[in-house]
Amino acid sequence: MAGAGLKRINLFLSLFVVFAALFTQPGCWDQREVERLGLVLATGVDMAPGGRIKVILQNINPSAMARGVVGAGGGGGGAGAGKPYSNRSTESETIFEGIRDLSRQTPRQLFFAHNQVILVTERLARERGLEEVLDFFERNPQVRRTTWFLIAKGDLETLLDEPEPLEQIPAQRIFDIINEQHLTSRYAARRLEDFLEMMESDGTHPYTAMIERIKNPAAPPEHRNRLAEGHLAEPHQTIKINGTAIFRRDRMAGQLNPGESRGLLWVKGEVRGGTMEIPNPGQKDRTVTLEILRTKTKLEPALRDGRIYMKVAVKVDSNLAETTGPLDLSKPETINKLEKLQNGAVQKEIESVLAKAQQEYGVDIFGFGQAVHRKYPRQWKEMKGRWSGLFPGVEVQILVDSKIRRTGMITKPVEPKQR
């Protein structure tokens, strides 16, 4: 009786020791407290002299950011909130080396899981190609493949340090702008995963949006510094996502303007919204603006007589958003006319980007090769080696089918009555 009790106590004691060891000895090797993390919201890569690479990171300063939101208990909070972010940069042979090197100037452990955007300078993309920089982003477990991947014009240091009161972190600002991509569909931003997938496919070439600093049109012409009065004037510069960079394999080949960018998105079937300007059928020199609701694109390749045909069938639903000049919407013919005009406008956008891709650069950014591969897998085997030679000769037939769904709150345009 007593012996069994002792045995049981021994069992519990040894179990206790085992668990105590389990909880204390591993040292929690993966453990890190949130406040010890240096959250990186943007990673940029630029060229550096001597074949080296320049890495720039945007770190956020949580306490400065959340002041007045979480730490409200403090009340005054007068002790200078500080800048909500800080940028760090170093030059090295590889990105990872640079990131580790940055720990020599960073008080926190750099953490990339919340990286919102990856920026590569146009210089690097054009002159050296992306092959040497993309490996890190694909290999590292912390970097998400859904991060936006953009090409930056000009210096990253200035681009990542433009002030914006609504979204104080420049990286977050870029991220939020891209999330509104569907409002214009005039640039084609790609996520890292999509970019890598296109780069590694033999039936398409990659592209992604470009970002640049522009002169801020809202800045007052007579720029006084009224900081003393507690007033910050609109900054001289602002950032804008402008156009699309297209690549031949990993090297940037050229650039599409906003209209051509949407042409590309039409073919890819990725136009989610935006505006179309078409001439007013009632008065030629006036404009009607349509708002795109939904679109659908079908690519249909065909091989006939040794030639490659590609049918691009686009379906567009849109609303009439604004007109200038007279327009009689009570007649169905007017709507028909508007639809025909929209067909033409869409066709023009597609043609412009086709011309550029086929004639000027000869890179298949549309994924025509993938479409051919899907439909003619056997023939593709033979074609894929010389696809870049075949692509400019693909005969593209564009079919657009527009529907105008609604015409807004009024039927007759605003028209001043004269006596």
């Binding site: 406040e35 993390l37 959340a66």
Partner: protein, 541 residues
């Protein structure tokens, strides 16, 4: 062994003074051998025995008097003062015997005097004959009066119970918005009457037994014949019968002595102080165990799910009952897991947190000197201490505790930067979630298991939390309550029972009793009870 022997000797010495050899087997000094002491035919000898057993007690009254006109027959009434109705002793026992028996011609049939008295003289409803001292003493100690007549070896034990007890009040631990306001009280008979009133069927069986060598607590097993499984009733009786403890002061004593897995942190017996809940359980084929001296009644078998159910679910409309039930399931999970998930995610899986939340988390934790685990343990400890303090303190002081708690934890600790505001939110949510549980004992289990889960979350992250959940689930699926799997209705799955687990089905759809407990009599009601408006033009109305 020597310890036992010396104790035995001490016992002998102590009891030797009473001159009645009452500890022959050394285990039951009070009552063990009373069964073999017969009631003697001499009143003097009987009173001597009783005096040696009970005489030192000031509350035991020995009333000697003479019967009838001639005053030949000497008799005595023995009772415990305070446990009887004085009017009953005076008016129903002594008065008829001393005065009214003259008219009845007492003494005619001298040979069968006790039976004559029982049948014709005493105007009390419950009179039993006792031939051993055991019956006499037990009766006296439970509010009966013992009538001993000189020259007869039969004592009459006359029920005259009547003591002051707490009345029937609202059950404080299970308050409902809609439902009976009656709760059990400490007196067993009052409690059984409340069940009897709710189930006026001859099928309701109340079986009594005495448990406790010293306390001799009356315990009642209640079940409905034809609904409860006879094997279950037998098993309950068997488990209660083997209890040999000195005192049963609360049903919790019994619970620990009859449960299936005594080492489990999970309660396997439901307790309630609501008669309507007991009645509902009996209708499902369960067995209730009522204990004298406590309002808490045990219900067996009890699966895990029944701890999640409140009588309110059945009283309110079923749609609401279903929603509230899900709220309860969620808060059950939250009360177990919230702190550990918070610790695991903030210290191991920061990539899972939305960016903006992570930023405010980081800024909130900026300057907090402790790791998340220490912070959580500190806050949980404070919270549990406050809760415990609030329960034990007098109501007037309790308020002060809650003010101190709210100020010290809620504000001062955050402002001082000792803990982060988010941790306060997590701990507060956990506390609220655990209060939502209708069964107090399962909430206690969650309170307890929360701490190992927090340690697991802090050392192994989500992996540790998952391991903890799995360990708990494995343990739970191995548990049984009176032979019924603890996770019954879910594992093993009884799809028909999900009507009372996943949802609370309307009463017209509750056609069958629970599969595990209602085996003996599965059908609860006929189909077709769903109300519907009469057919237009039809004969219905």
């Amino acid at each position: 062994m020597t310890v036992k022997q010396s104790m035995f000797r001490m016992f002998k010495k102590a009891t030797a003074k009473t001159k009645v050899d009452s500890c022959r087997d050394g285990r039951q000094p009070q009552s063990g051998n009373l069964k073999i002491i017969p009631v003697a035919s001499s009143l003097g000898q009987n009173l001597k025995i009783l005096d040696s057993l009970l005489g030192r007690n000031t509350d035991i009254i020995f009333r000697r008097f003479r019967l009838g006109l001639a005053g030949r027959e000497e008799a005595a009434v023995v009772y415990a003062d305070g446990m009887i109705k004085t009017e009953a002793i005076n008016g129903d026992i002594i008065k008829p015997l001393m005065l009214e028996s003259r008219m009845a011609g007492l003494g005619a049939g001298r040979g069968n005097l006790p039976e004559f008295i029982k049948n014709s003289v005493l105007s009390a409803s419950n009179v039993m004959e006792a031939r051993t001292m055991d019956g006499v003493v037990n009766g006296v100690l439970y509010g009966s009066a013992a009538l001993i007549i000189d020259g007869h070896d039969t004592a009459l034990v006359i029920d005259s119970k009547g003591w002051i007890s707490r009345g029937v009040t609202e059950p404080e631990s299970e308050v409902l918005v809609r439902g009976s306001r009656e709760g059990f009280s400490e007196t067993l008979r009052v409690n059984t009457s409340m069940i009897r009133r709710r189930l006026r069927s001859p099928g309701l069986v109340l079986e009594d037994m005495n448990i406790g060598r010293v306390s001799r607590t009356e315990v009642t097993i209640a079940y409905i014949r034809n609904i409860a499984d006879p094997a279950l009733v037998e098993e309950v009786g068997r488990r209660l019968g083997r209890i040999d403890i000195d005192g049963v002061l609360e049903s919790g004593y019994l619970e620990e002595l009859i449960e299936d897995s005594p080492y489990s942190p999970f309660p396997q017996v439901l307790h309630t102080e609501r008669p309507d809940r007991v009645a509902a359980a009996l209708l499902e084929g369960r067995v209730a165990i009522l204990t004298d001296g406590t309002p808490f009644t045990l219900i067996v078998p009890s699966e895990f799910i029944s701890f999640m159910q409140s009588p309110e679910d059945y009283n309110e409309r079923y749609i609401l009952g279903t929603a509230v039930r899900w709220l309860r399931y969620l808060s059950f999970a939250a009360s177990l897991l919230l702190p550990s998930l918070y610790i695991a995610i903030t210290t191991f899986h920061q990539e899972m947190i939305p960016t903006h939340l992570l930023i405010s988390l980081a800024s909130a934790r900026e300057g907090v000197p402790f790791p998340a685990l220490a912070e959580a343990l500190l806050m949980e400890f404070t919270f549990e201490a406050l809760r415990e303090a609030g329960i034990r303190l007098p109501r007037a002081v309790g308020q002060a505790v809650s003010i101190v708690g709210a100020l010290v934890i809620g504000q001062a600790a955050v402002q001082a930067g000792v803990v982060s505001p988010l941790m306060v939110i997590v701990v507060a949510l956990t506390g609220i979630a655990s209060f939502i549980n209708p069964a107090f004992n399962i909430a206690l289990t969650m309170r307890l298991l929360r701490f190992p889960m927090m340690l697991l979350g802090a050392t192994l992250g989500l992996f540790g939390v998952m391991a903890g959940i799995l360990a708990i689930l494995i343990h739970m699926s191995g548990l049984r309550s009176f032979g019924v799997p603890y996770l019954a209705s879910l594992a093993p799955l009884h799809t028909g029972d999900l009507k009372d687990v996943a949802v609370r089905a309307p009463w017209w759809a509750m056609k069958k009793r629970p599969a595990e407990t209602g085996k003996a009599n599965p059908r609860r009601q006929p189909p077709g009870l769903k109300p519907s408006p009469p057919e237009p033009g039809g004969t219905g109305g």
